[in-house]
């Protein structure tokens, strides 16, 4: 009997040991390697969608994918690149923090043999990244500018909230908008300040603009996060019916606010399309493809109360 108890204990112990052993998931077993998703910030739902979609598509394609949040800080971004290079990643899906400041990071990765695919934001170099999938912010804001004139009119004061000053998208959006609006001398921009693409900063800047310029008819915001902040400031000031808010991004919350008549319009940027396509480019690269267009413009569509039903979930329904 003693022997039997001993055998039984051994069997139970063996079973428990087997159960406790770390099991490889099917995805891990079949993994083709690691892909890094380095994103400028996760403090904005739009970028969360961008990063999550890139990661999800990379996983679908058979890779282990990890998201690195640069928190809009080039030093943090540089540190992520060091870790990614040391960590044996096969590709980087990259949303840069700074068009100039991020070039060195991409060049380091390239020197280490790791391809970098920029998403949404560009770097000011055409020979560092393997490819750059970029929202056509300028054209999108030309359309927004035309709609702005149509809805606000050709006379009146307005304000502009710029994004991060070092980011090309900030200026592509601003220039596209002004390429239209500046042609109407009756439309006077009385304030132009940076809200750093941030909702809280957008609210704060809008509050101070309203104090100095209580008669503005509209505000053009370089992204939807700032547009939501600006709208919040307008509600607090009791001016949300007086001032039309224009955003840019196509954030789900703003699309809903357009349907509710709270925000006038936005530009839909299709973050999911860009993120998925970039992950597919990385997969093609890893499989041996080397011929990629340096810049792939992705169109931006105007979302207004007239066509808002066609849009949602960060894209076209």
């Amino acid at each position: 009997m003693k022997t039997n108890w001993f055998k039984l204990a051994l069997a139970v112990l063996a079973a428990i040991t087997i159960l406790l052993l770390p099991q490889a998931s099917p995805a891990q077993t079949a993994s083709k390697g690691k892909i890094a998703v380095v994103v400028s910030t996760l403090n904005n739902p739009w970028f969360v969608v961008l990063a999550d979609t890139a990661k999800a598509r990379a996983v679908e394609l058979g890779y282990d994918a990890t998201i690195f949040d640069s928190q809009n800080d080039t030093a943090k971004e540089a540190s992520h690149f060091e870790n990614v290079i040391a960590g044996g990643y096969k590709a980087i899906l990259f949303n840069p923090t700074d068009a100039n400041g991020s070039i060195a990071n991409v060049e380091k990765a390239k020197a280490a043999g790791i391809p970098v695919f920029c998403i949404d934001r560009e770097i000011n170099s055409t020979n560092a990244a393997t490819s750059q999938m970029l929202s056509d912010s300028y054209s999108g804001c030309v359309k927004l500018g035309q709609y702005f004139v149509k809805t606000v009119g050709k006379q009146g004061e307005y304000a502009e909230l710029l994004g991060i000053v070092g980011d090309n998208n900030t200026w592509n959006r601003s220039k596209g908008f002004h390429s239209v609006v500046d042609r109407y001398p009756g439309l006077k921009m009385v304030a132009q300040q940076s809200g750093d693409f941030d909702r809280a900063k957008g609210l704060e800047v809008m509050e101070s603009i309203l104090q100095a310029h209580p008669n503005i008819k509209a505000v053009f915001c370089g992204n939807d996060a700032m547009a939501m902040g600006a709208y919040q400031a307008l509600v607090t000031a009791g001016k949300d019916k007086q001032v039309k808010v224009f955003g840019f991004d196509g954030a789900d919350e703003v699309v809903k606010m357009i349907a509710e008549g709270k925000i006038a319009a936005t530009g839909m940027q299709f973050p999911k399309t860009m993120a998925r396509k970039s992950a597919e480019f990385a997969d093609e690269y890893i499989k041996g493809e080397r011929d990629f267009p340096q810049k792939v413009p992705v169109p931006v569509e105007l979302v207004t109360p007239e066509n808002v039903a066609k849009y949602g979930d960060y894209g076209k329904k």
Binding site: A99, E122, N124, S125, T126, M133, L134, D136, Y138, S139, V142, G145, Q146, N168, W171, N172, K175, G176, S179, V180, R183, T273, K277, P293, Q294, K295, V296, P297, V298, P299
Partner: protein
């Protein structure tokens, strides 16, 4: 002796500094001029592009009397055969040329009938304020990948639109009367396949009224 040694040391140090200066003093004007030379001049670029590439390329554009019947017959086939698009865009461009008869005139457009005997506006030459990228992207002669900073590429668009407004439209407005014949070349941007192409809206790069 010590004074001599100091003197020699200073002379040697001065000599080294003369041969290998620690810093250079450059007039601010020179720096500004050098910086300006490095800055991309979109207006100059657009001017050269217009003369040396765009106008010569008109001979390769699709003829309006070929394109319009093709669009009527099968828009998808016409798009496939004659258009070009950029990146992942649903929108696409036609680069076309032809001759038409003026059937309507307004501040913003000159409407042309292309088909013989037709009185319908088949092409609308855009003649108001010109916006967008139709001229830059409509011919395929310029590629975003060639420009490290997309702001430069976008500035080209604005500069080309400005040339249309200043070189093409004034004469068109002055001479295009109903019944006049206009030979034109230009670019049309089509948002997607649901866009109404009657008439086809063309931003003119060339328009001669007879």
């Amino acid at each position: 002796m010590a004074a001599v040694r100091w003197f020699i040391a200073i002379v040697v140090l001065a000599g080294i500094c003369w041969l290998f200066p620690i810093f250079h003093v450059v007039p601010l004007k020179t720096v500004t001029a050098e910086k300006a030379a490095e800055t991309f001049d979109a207006t100059q670029f657009a001017d050269n592009f217009w003369t040396n590439q765009l106008v010569p390329a008109i001979s390769k554009s699709v003829k309006a009397d070929v394109l319009l019947p093709a669009i009527q017959a099968d828009p998808a086939a016409a798009k496939k055969k004659f258009s070009r698009s950029v990146g992942l865009s649903e929108s696409y461009f036609y680069f076309l040329s032809g001759t038409g008869r003026v059937v309507a005139v307004s501040d913003d457009e000159i409407s042309l009938a292309i088909t013989s005997g037709s009185t319908n506006a088949e092409v609308s030459l855009q003649a108001g304020l010109i916006f967008g990228d139709a001229i830059r992207d409509g011919t395929g002669l310029l590629n975003a990948s060639d420009y490290p900073n997309s702001q430069d590429f976008n500035d080209i668009s604005a500069a080309l639109d400005h040339i249309v407004e200043t070189r093409v439209l004034p004469a068109l407005h002055a001479q295009a009367k109903i019944g006049a014949t206009v030979s034109f070349a230009g670019c049309a941007e089509v948002d997607d396949e649901s866009t109404d192409l009657k008439p086809l809206k063309v931003i003119p790069v060339q328009a001669e009224v007879r």
